[in-house]
C-alpha cells in the first residue's frame, strides 16, 4: 500500500529543527542579521536573513553550494552600511531552509524568484552571487532580465567540470564509480543524518572544503550554521545532499550564453585553487563576458574571496553597483 505524502504534513516533517543558538563564538566584524523570516516557495520554507535598513534599495546576496546565508555575516554588513537592504536566503536543504524531497538547479531558481517576489516585486535589484549562487543568478539574468539592475558574479563562472583532466578510459571509469557511489548513497540516505561532533571537529571537517579560511572563522560558522543536539553539533545541510554528482549538464554551456546578458555585469575570478572552486581562468572566459561587462582577476586569493578579503570585495562591488538610490 503506497502512502502519498500530503504536502502540508510533509513540510512539517521535513523542516529541520530551528535551534536558537546562544552563539558561543564571535568573529571580528560579524553581525547577526537584522531581520529573519521565512518565505513559502510552493511548499518549501525558505529562510531569509536581512542586513541594513528595510527601506533601502534591495541587494540580493546569493550563497554557493553547501554554504548558507550566515556565511555573509561579515561581508553583508559592509554592503548594508553603504545604503543597501541586503537580502540573503538559505537554498532549499541548506541552513535553516526546509529539507525537501528533490534538489535541482531549476528548483533553486524558482525558490529565488519566490524570495525576490516577496522583497522586490516588479522592481529591478542589485545582485551579488558567489560560486553556484553566481551561476544560478546568471541563469536568472538570462531568463528574467527585468529583475536585475546590476549583477556581480564572484567566482561563479564555470568553464569545465572540477577535477583532473583524465584520458577517455579513465574518465569513463571515474564516472561509473561516481554513479555507483551516488546510487549507494541514495540507498542509505532515507535514514541518514549528519555526523555529530564538537565545534572544533565540525570546523576541522569544513576546513577540508575551506582550507584557506581561519579556524576562528570556521568555528564561528559552526555556531551559526550547525545545530546543537544532545550528542553534539551537526551541520544543517540535508544529509541526502552530497558533493560530486553526474548528469548531462555541461558547465561551459551556460558560459556560452553569458555574452547575451544585458544587465551591467562584473565577473570576479581567483587564482588560488581550492576544492570548492571552479578553477576558471580569465583567458578561458573573457570572450564570453557581456559587451559592456567587466572581468577582474585576483591571482593570490581563493574561491571564498568575500570571506578572505571582505572589505576589498565590498569596496569593489559597491563601486561597481553605484549609488543605491
Amino acid at each position: 500500500m503506497c502512502v502519498r505524502c500530503p504536502p502540508l504534513r510533509t513540510l512539517r516533517r521535513l523542516r529541520p529543527s530551528l535551534t536558537l543558538v546562544n552563539s558561543p563564538r564571535t568573529f571580528p566584524g560579524a553581525v547577526t542579521p537584522h531581520r529573519h523570516y521565512r518565505v513559502d516557495a510552493d511548499g518549501v520554507g525558505i529562510a531569509v536573513n536581512e542586513w541594513g535598513n528595510e527601506n533601502d534599495p534591495v541587494l540580493a546576496l546569493v550563497h554557493g553550494g553547501a554554504d548558507f546565508s550566515r556565511t555573509f555575516d561579515v561581508f553583508a554588513p559592509l554592503l548594508a552600511a553603504a545604503g543597501w537592504r541586503v537580502v540573503a536566503w538559505d537554498h532549499r536543504g541548506h541552513g535553516d531552509s526546509d529539507h525537501t524531497h528533490l534538489y535541482s538547479f531549476e528548483a533553486d531558481l524558482r525558490d529565488a524568484v519566490r524570495v525576490l517576489d516577496t522583497v522586490a516585486p516588479h522592481r529591478p535589484i542589485a545582485v551579488v552571487g558567489h560560486s553556484k549562487g553566481g551561476a544560478i543568478m546568471t541563469s536568472l539574468a538570462e531568463a528574467q532580465p527585468f529583475r536585475f539592475r546590476s549583477f556581480v558574479n564572484l567566482d561563479g563562472i564555470p568553464y569545465r567540470r572540477p577535477g583532473p583532466d583524465l584520458p577517455e578510459y579513465q574518465r569513463a571509469d571515474a564516472m561509473n564509480t561516481e554513479i555507483t557511489a551516488w546510487l549507494e548513497h541514495r540507498r542509505r540516505t532515507a535514514t541518514g543524518s549528519r555526523k555529530p561532533g564538537t565545534i572544533e571537529e565540525l570546523a576541522r571537517r569544513r576546513a577540508q572544503m575551506n582550507p584557506r579560511l581561519s579556524t576562528e572563522w570556521l568555528e564561528y560558522l559552526v555556531t551559526v550554521g550547525a545545530r546543537e543536539d544532545a550528542d553534539g553539533w551537526r551541520w544543517k545541510l540535508d544529509p541526502s545532499m552530497r558533493m560530486g554528482g553526474f548528469g548531462p549538464w555541461r558547465p561551459e554551456f551556460g558560459l556560452f550564453r553569458l555574452s547575451g546578458l544585458g544587465v551591467p555585469f562584473l565577473g570576479v575570478l581567483v587564482g588560488a585553487d581550492e576544492p570548492m572552486g571552479w578553477g576558471t581562468k580569465p583567458h578561458q572566459v573573457e570572450k564570453w563576458i557581456p559587451r559592456h561587462g567587466r572581468l577582474e582577476y585576483f591571482e593570490d586569493i581563493g574561491h571564498f574571496i568575500h570571506i578572505e578579503q571582505p572589505q576589498m570585495v565590498a569596496d569593489m562591488a559597491l563601486e561597481f553597483l553605484g549609488d543605491p538610490s
Binding site: R92, D111, S240, P248, R257
Partner: protein, 215 residues
C-alpha cells in the same frame, strides 16, 4: 495486481506486481512514459514473458509520492529504478519514452543487475536539448494529484545528450554478460537515441524478439 511500497530517500515508490512468474525466469520491470503510470494489466506486447511482471510508478507519478516544489531529473528516476532493483534483484527492463531513457541509464549504472533494457516509443522520449535548457522559472499549481505538473514540466525539458547516453551504453556493454544488452525498439529516434541505436552492443529487434533474447 498487488502493490508494495519502496523507499527512495524521502520518496515512497509504488511497485506493482502485474503477474506472478510461471517459471524460474527473472522478473520483467515495466517503466512507464512521462505523465503515465503503471498499467492495471499486462500489456499485450509483453504477455509472452514467463517470469513475474512488475511496474514501477516513478516519483510524482501514479501512486508514488508527489515531491514538494519539484526538482526532478532523469538521474532521480534512475535512483527510483535502483530501489526497485534492490528489491527484485536481476531484472529485464522495458521502458516507454522517458522510461526507455531511464532503462538505458539503469542498464549502464547497474550492468550486473539489468539483464537487458528495451527502449520503446512513448511520452518523454525526446527530452530537452542544451539549446532549449534556458530555465523558464515557471510556477505551477499542484492539486495533490499525479502526475505532478513539475514532473511534466521538468522532465520534458531534461537534457538528453548523445554523448552522455553513449557513456551508459559503454558501461552496460563493458560489464553485461549479454553481447547486446540494449535494444532499441522505438520507431521514432531523437538524436540521442539514434546515436545509441548505432552503437556497438545495441540491438534493434522488435519487442517480442528482444524479450526472447533477454529471457
Amino acid at each position: 495486481m498487488s502493490t508494495i511500497t519502496l523507499r527512495h530517500n524521502r520518496i515512497e515508490l509504488a511497485l506493482h506486481e502485474l503477474r506472478p512468474a510461471t517459471d524460474d525466469c527473472h522478473p520483467l520491470l515495466l517503466l512507464h512514459g512521462l505523465g503515465e503510470r503503471t498499467p492495471d494489466t499486462v500489456p499485450t506486447d509483453v504477455e509472452s514473458w514467463s517470469g513475474s511482471i512488475w511496474g514501477l510508478d516513478f516519483t510524482g507519478h501514479g501512486k508514488s509520492t508527489i515531491p514538494v516544489g519539484g526538482g526532478y531529473s532523469a538521474e532521480i528516476l534512475l535512483g527510483d529504478v535502483d530501489a526497485a532493483i534492490n528489491h527484485l534483484g536481476t531484472v529485464t527492463l522495458i521502458g516507454r519514452g522517458l522510461g526507455g531513457y531511464i532503462a538505458l541509464l539503469a542498464a549502464g549504472a547497474r550492468a550486473d543487475a539489468v539483464h537487458g533494457a528495451i527502449i520503446t516509443d512513448g511520452p518523454g522520449l525526446t527530452g530537452g536539448t542544451y539549446e532549449s535548457s534556458v530555465p523558464l522559472v515557471a510556477r505551477l499549481m499542484n492539486q495533490g494529484e499525479t502526475p505532478d505538473p513539475y514532473a511534466l514540466h521538468e522532465l520534458s525539458r531534461d537534457v538528453r545528450a548523445a554523448d552522455y547516453a553513449l557513456d551508459f551504453v559503454q558501461f552496460s556493454t563493458a560489464r553485461s554478460e549479454l553481447s547486446e544488452p540494449i535494444n532499441v525498439a522505438a520507431k521514432y529516434q531523437p538524436a540521442w537515441l539514434e546515436a545509441v541505436a548505432a552503437a556497438p552492443g545495441v540491438a534493434s529487434l522488435p519487442i517480442g524478439d528482444a524479450l526472447n533474447l533477454y529471457r
